[in-house]
């Protein structure tokens, strides 16, 4: 299998706080990697480093044919090219509240990528239909439920045709009954062959959808492998105790 994403020795600190000590992993094209770990483990920072929202202090990240060595303080065009490789879905969706659903999706393709509006619009409508929101195109984000907002966020990221999709705890801010719709959209994307990295607390979802699970703690990848190994028969004591706490909290 060819690797779409390789992460080598990524380090990141915020002030004195060393959040990522030494992170390395690979993601093969067309596979889903879920990242689990306790809060404060650095899992969200890993994801944000993949999009350079938080720039790593050191380490090399390669997505497709764009490789960035963060120790060498990359220039702006390089970073822009790097960011364009991936689409990001936030925990709190971060839709643009002053734009309608369709305009949220169109903003990237039309304003940034300068694609013809008619073509981009047809694309955006198709994406909205794909996430089950075709009839909401002309509404404003505040008129949607949390789950619907999150699905618009997914469509907005897909509209830029990235190679890699990143999800930062996409269901953590949702009411429980809305989680299923969002996870289903992500599963459908997996079935379509999208390469994705998903930070999540939904262990059952991780089990169903992942090809690879990373357990991160203390800024290190403590354990990685197929879900049947990491989630069902973990080798590391820390992974075991984390899973026990999360699966059986009382």
């Amino acid at each position: 299998m060819t690797e779409l994403l390789t992460v080598r020795n990524v380090r990141k600190s915020f002030g004195d706080n060393l959040v990522l000590r030494d992170i390395s992993f690979d993601v093969a094209a067309g596979t889903v990697t879920t990242v689990i770990g306790p809060s404060g483990s650095g899992k969200t920072t890993v994801l944000r480093a993949l999009n350079a929202l938080d720039q790593a202090d050191a380490g090399v990240i390669t997505i497709g044919d764009v490789s960035v060595d963060f120790a060498a303080s990359p220039d702006r065009p390089t970073l822009a090219r790097f960011r364009a490789q991936s689409g990001m879905v936030f925990q709190s969706h971060n839709l643009f509240p002053h734009k309608t659903v369709i305009d949220n999706v169109l903003e990237g393709p039309v304003v940034v990528q300068r694609r013809p509006r008619a073509e981009a619009r047809a694309d955006a409508e198709r994406l909205l239909a794909q996430v089950g929101l075709a009839e909401k195109a002309e509404q404003y984000p505040y008129q949607l439920s949390g789950g619907q907002q999150q699905r618009v966020g997914i469509a907005r990221a897909l509209a830029l045709r990235p190679k890699l999709m990143l999800f930062d705890e996409p269901t953590s801010a949702l009411d429980p009954e809305l989680v299923g719709d969002v996870l289903k959209v992500i599963k459908d994307l997996a079935a379509e062959g999208w390469t994705m990295v998903v930070v999540t607390h939904e262990i059952r979802f991780a089990q169903q959808v992942s090809d690879q699970v990373l357990f991160i703690e203390g800024g290190l990848v403590v354990e990685s492998g197929p879900p049947a190994q990491v989630l069902v028969a973990p080798q590391q004591a820390r992974t075991r105790s984390f899973l026990q706490r999360i699966l059986d909290p009382i």
Binding site: N51, L53, A80, R83, A84, G87, M88, F90, S92, N94, L95, F96, P97, H98, K99, E107, G108, V111, V112, Q113, Y140, P141, Y142, Q143, R156, A157, L160
Partner: protein, 222 residues
């Protein structure tokens, strides 16, 4: 009211309206527009991560807010000629008023920009937007909602502050009233008319403000 006063008012209604249309309103509009441009750049400088720039903006706001508008006007019109910089009354007034609005509105715009959640900047960044585009298409349209009420205050104050331009020979509304009343000392009548003119302009602006606010609220849950 005695007939002479009535006649005086009647004769000066049109000249005063003329002064309003040719001086007071253009002076207000120009100064406010230029002032907003200055304010935007000062606000961005203030928010900049370059400390020198940020301090420069701070100093500007401090000087503008810490000195009387009348003194600012006098400096531009009466003091600059000492350095061989001679500016006509109207442009001198525009310069002084825009600089003044720039200082006050900068703080309003800065606060409005800061009120937009960080996630909006990040979302724009992840779809590949650069800083100027993000500001123009994502941040400022949302910040406008917060900024319109205080900026309306600034504008309405400015309308009335333009009367200070009468002190630097701009024949705006108050100056025309002054000149018309001087021969007969009938100040009450003509200043009364001037006051009504100012008030009508401000009522009109308040109306526009209300419309604008409604428009900017359309995407917010109620």
């Amino acid at each position: 009211m005695d007939p002479a006063t009535q006649d005086l008012i009647w004769r000066n209604l049109w000249p005063m309206l003329q002064a309003t249309l040719t001086k007071t309103l253009p002076l207000t509009a120009l100064s406010f527009a230029l002032g907003l441009v200055i304010a935007l750049f000062v606000a961005l400088a203030r928010l900049s991560r370059f400390t020198a720039l940020s301090w420069l903006a701070r100093a500007y706001v401090s000087v503008i807010r810490g000195t009387p508008l009348l003194v600012q006007l006098f400096i531009v019109f009466y003091a600059l000629p000492q350095f061989d910089i001679v500016i006509d009354p109207f442009p001198a007034a525009v310069i002084a008023f825009s600089l003044n609005v720039g200082g006050y509105a900068a703080e309003v715009i800065r606060a409005a920009i800061l009120s937009i959640p960080k996630g909006q900047w990040e979302a724009a960044q992840t779809i590949g937007m650069h800083y100027p585009t993000t500001l123009r298409r994502i941040i400022l349209p949302q910040a406008a909602r917060t900024a319109v009420p205080p900026l309306s205050n600034t504008l309405i104050s400015l309308v009335k502050d333009t009367s200070l331009a009468s002190t630097i020979l701009v024949t705006e509304l108050l100056r025309v009233a002054q000149l018309a009343a001087a021969p007969t000392f009938d100040f009450f009548a003509l200043y009364g008319v001037a006051a009504i003119y100012y008030w009508v302009i401000c009522v009109g602006l308040s109306f526009v403000q209300a419309r604008l606010e409604t428009r900017l609220e359309r995407y917010v849950a109620r």
